[in-house]
């Protein structure tokens, strides 16, 4: 095939017109230097097939919308270069989640996990001005505060795939870490209670795929291990 093109083999599912039929459809896209996978998807939508569905918003890796599976690995379409692939790139929905249309999945269970862990600061008090917090203290929760809720950690975790209803998942546990280590927070004990059983930290099998694929490079597995230790020491 010509050097400046790529084949995108995309998972298709249209609940309105095709019942439960699913299939792959391959599109050839002319590539340009710097082209991202998201730009390639738009190229198809705008010029070849207006029925293609995918999520997007910011296009620079800060909003968390466009997580998909690229050749079996979960990534953000917007900050992945097409030039990372040659010949054919297979694009599929995030695994382990129900499919709404094409590569758009139902993220409600993911956000439900988020809501379970009291994902907000439980303040120690309300000072007149700001809380005094040293930069070293902020650094404790850096880069955990950079989480964009893209669901790549959960969609990359084999435990989440196989026992979704039994595991709160790596994102929610990272969030527990983020709040529990915030020097301004006093809700740590309660959150540890919520994730202290076999549906929480103890279901993590330290497979490290969450850490490997997190687009924000958050050391997720390490955070979960930290919570496991805290469960006994707090």
């Amino acid at each position: 095939m010509p050097e400046n093109t790529i084949n995108l083999k995309i998972f298709r599912f249209d609940p309105e017109n095709a019942g439960l039929d699913t299939h792959y459809q391959t599109y050839t896209v002319k590539t340009e230097p710097g082209m991202t996978v998201l730009e390639a998807l738009f190229d198809i939508l705008d010029n070849q097939d207006g029925t293609l569905a995918f999520r997007y918003s910011c296009r620079w890796g800060i909003c968390g919308s466009c997580a998909v599976s690229l050749n079996g690995k979960c990534r953000l379409a917007c900050n992945t270069q097409v030039s990372d692939y040659s010949d054919t790139l297979t694009i599929e929905p995030l695994p382990g989640l129900d499919i709404i249309k094409d590569i758009v999945v139902d993220l409600e269970p993911f956000f439900e996990n988020y809501r379970k862990i009291k994902p907000y600061l439980v303040p120690k008090g309300t000072p007149d001005k700001e809380n005094i917090q040293m930069q070293e203290d902020v650094n404790l929760i850096e880069p955990h505060v950079k989480c964009i809720l893209c669901a790549i950690c959960e969609a990359s975790c084999p435990v989440s795939w196989t026992s979704r209803e039994k595991y709160i998942g790596p994102m929610a546990l990272t969030k527990v870490y983020r709040f529990n280590r915030d020097t301004r927070d006093s809700g740590g004990k309660e959150r540890l209670e919520i994730v202290g059983d076999e549906t929480g930290v103890w279901r993590c099998r330290t497979i490290f795929r969450c850490t490997e694929y997190c687009p924000k490079k958050i050391p997720i597995t390490e955070a979960i291990q930290f919570l496991k230790r805290r469960y006994f020491t707090d």
């Binding site: 249209d14 900050n79 994902p119 000072p127 700001e130 964009i148």
Partner: protein, 568 residues
């Protein structure tokens, strides 16, 4: 008969302004949010550099005050901002920033452990509070956490297609549930529009792909006037080609702008403020350098971070480094960054007063979709995040107060239900796809390019007239557009609605620009290069009439500061 979903206060838009409004309203009554994306996907998360407040945490800004902040804002606005609104913005700034800190925003810190502040354009000393260079993300996630804490019902991935109005009073909205493909009817006493800006009308914009200005056009179609739409902010430093934003914070931290000869050309345009002059001035300077042949490859200039050193870049601007590495494969520690100006912010918007109230009773507007106006002809960096929080809270309060007052009256009457049902049926006809030969993407692309070229940084009469003709031709083409059938996550259908809005707003922008025969802030007319306070120290008020867009003017509210020459 169908039963609409009722909430006393219904907020359209799940960004900072919308969520802040909902949180405030929920203190008084039930409030829910309709958002076209999950709230954390909103464009607020794309804000990078920071949020202004006169905290006085940096040694150089120790005697900062709301008055100084107000003056800088008004001067930055080229005296078009309403000064009563600016007063509210700046007086409340510190309180709102402290509130976000109390709610958990991970602000960067001073050596004393206070919220760190950096210099931004138009201030001259550090007033901009920040969380590294992803402040919007930090704030949006914090506010989303508070929305969860306060049990605010969020209907995500709902696209509002119509406002239902009776006798100049809002009664509900019709929205498409993108996930089920079904239309949903909502009834409310108060509806708050917090739908963001319209940057995607321009082919070169830093805005998220979802920012079509649809919410602004909803209000416009419903009969609300739009204010100052010709004032579009162009951010000086977007990444060449993709137009991804590179924060003003990089210049705040000391980055230089260099032309093809390696000169710090800002010397010629703003000898004192240099790279930290307000955005309109820096954007024009860059555009001028490129036009006069001193751009690199005739297309961009360079942003130079190299002298800041790796340590400072990693501590203060890690996001900028990451963006450069991921999107153009260069490392700003060692290399120059190619940057060009791009549309960045919609200063104008839905005409509303300082309480967010519009001409339609019960309909409010807040945030970028609204024009209060605190930004006037040019917004200062760091003031838009602030606006979302200060006015989000304020408008939430007013919307709730009105809803409470209404709920004391009789319950929903049959007439309301009938009207909502009628509108539902009408909208239902519009989502069935369209057989036509024109392509959405090509009309959108033509529109975007013509807006950059003819209604962009530099404007002049003949080009603006051409632009209006071309917009009208594109609108004609839009009548014959093809839209595929199906309503579940049908992007083409959504893009058709977006494009309809973009075409309508483009006309308002171009017409406002044509009629404003002066240069003020971001609006620069090469044929009228001076500011003309005698005729144009006025807001543009655009109205949708059966005979097209009608333009009127309204006086600016001035309290403390008299117009003066704007020198930096």
């Amino acid at each position: 008969m169908m039963q609409p979903i009722f909430h006393p206060v219904l907020v359209i838009g799940g960004g900072l302004a919308g969520l802040r409004a909902a949180i405030e309203a929920k203190k008084y009554c039930d409030a829910a949010v309709l958002s076209m994306v999950y709230p954390v996907r909103s464009h607020s998360c794309a804000a990078q550099g920071g949020i202004n407040a006169p905290l006085g945490n940096a040694p150089e800004g120790i005697d900062d005050s709301w008055e100084k902040h107000a003056y800088d804002t008004v001067k930055g606005s080229d005296f078009l901002a309403d000064q009563d609104a600016v007063e509210i913005l700046t007086k409340e700034a510190a309180e709102r920033v402290y509130e976000m800190e109390h709610w958990g925003t991970p602000f960067s810190r001073t050596p004393e452990g206070r919220i760190a502040q950096r210099p931004f354009g138009g201030a001259g000393f550090p007033r901009t509070c920040y969380a590294e260079d992803t402040t919007g993300h930090a704030l949006l996630h914090t506010i989303n956490e508070q929305a969860i804490k306060n049990n605010i019902k969020v209907y995500s991935e709902r696209f509002v297609l119509s406002l239902v109005v009776r006798d100049k009073k809002i009664i509900g909205v019709i929205a498409l549930n993108r996930l089920t493909g079904k239309l949903e009817a909502y009834a409310a006493h108060s509806v708050v529009l917090a739908t963001g800006g319209a940057g995607r009308i321009y082919a070169e914009t830093t805005n998220s792909l979802i920012m079509s200005g649809y919410g602004i056009s909803l209000a416009f179609r419903a009969g609300v006037a739009l204010k100052d739409m010709e004032f579009m902010q162009f951010h000086p430093t977007s990444l060449y080609r993709t137009n991804i934003l590179l924060t003003e914070g990089s210049r705040g931290e000391g980055a230089y702008l260099l032309n093809s000869k390696g000169e710090r050309f800002m010397q010629r345009y703003a000898p004192v403020a240099m790279e930290l002059a307000p955005r309109d001035i820096v954007a024009r300077a860059i555009a001028t350098e490129i036009l006069e042949g001193r751009g690199v490859n005739n297309a961009y200039v360079h942003l130079d971070l190299r002298h800041l050193g790796e340590k400072k870049i990693n501590e203060r601007l890690p996001g900028v480094r990451e963006l450069c590495l991921s999107f153009i494969g260069l490392d700003p520690v060692k290399e120059l960054i190619p940057v060009q100006p791009a549309q960045h912010y919609t200063m104008g918007g839905i005409d509303c007063n300082i309480n967010g109230e519009t001409e339609i009773t019960g309909l409010y507007a807040v945030g970028e979709c609204a024009c209060v106006s605190v930004h006037g002809a040019n917004r200062l960096g760091g003031n838009s995040l602030l606006e979302t929080l200060v006015f989000g809270k304020r408008v939430g309060e007013f919307a709730a107060a009105f809803a409470l007052q209404e709920s004391k009256k009789s319950a929903m009457d049959e007439g309301i239900l009938d009207l909502i049902e009628q509108e539902y049926k009408k909208v239902n006809e519009k989502i069935k796809g369209k057989e036509g030969k024109e392509k959405i993407a090509s009309i959108r692309s033509d529109l975007g390019k013509l807006m950059v070229k003819k209604v962009g940084i530099f404007r002049q009469e003949d080009q603006l007239r051409e632009a209006l003709d071309e917009i009208s031709a594109l609108s004609e083409m839009f009548e014959h557009v093809y839209v595929s059938r199906g309503t579940i996550y049908n992007l083409e259908l959504l893009h058709a609605f977006d494009l309809e809005a973009m075409l309508a707003l483009a006309e308002v922008i171009a017409k406002g620009a044509l009629f404003r025969k002066e240069s003020r802030g971001s609006h620069y007319r090469t044929d009228y290069p001076e500011r003309d306070d005698e005729h144009f120290l006025k807001h543009t008020i655009a109205r949708c009439t059966p005979d097209g867009v009608k333009i009127e003017y309204r006086d600016v509210v001035m309290t403390k500061f008299k117009p003066e020459k704007r020198v930096y």
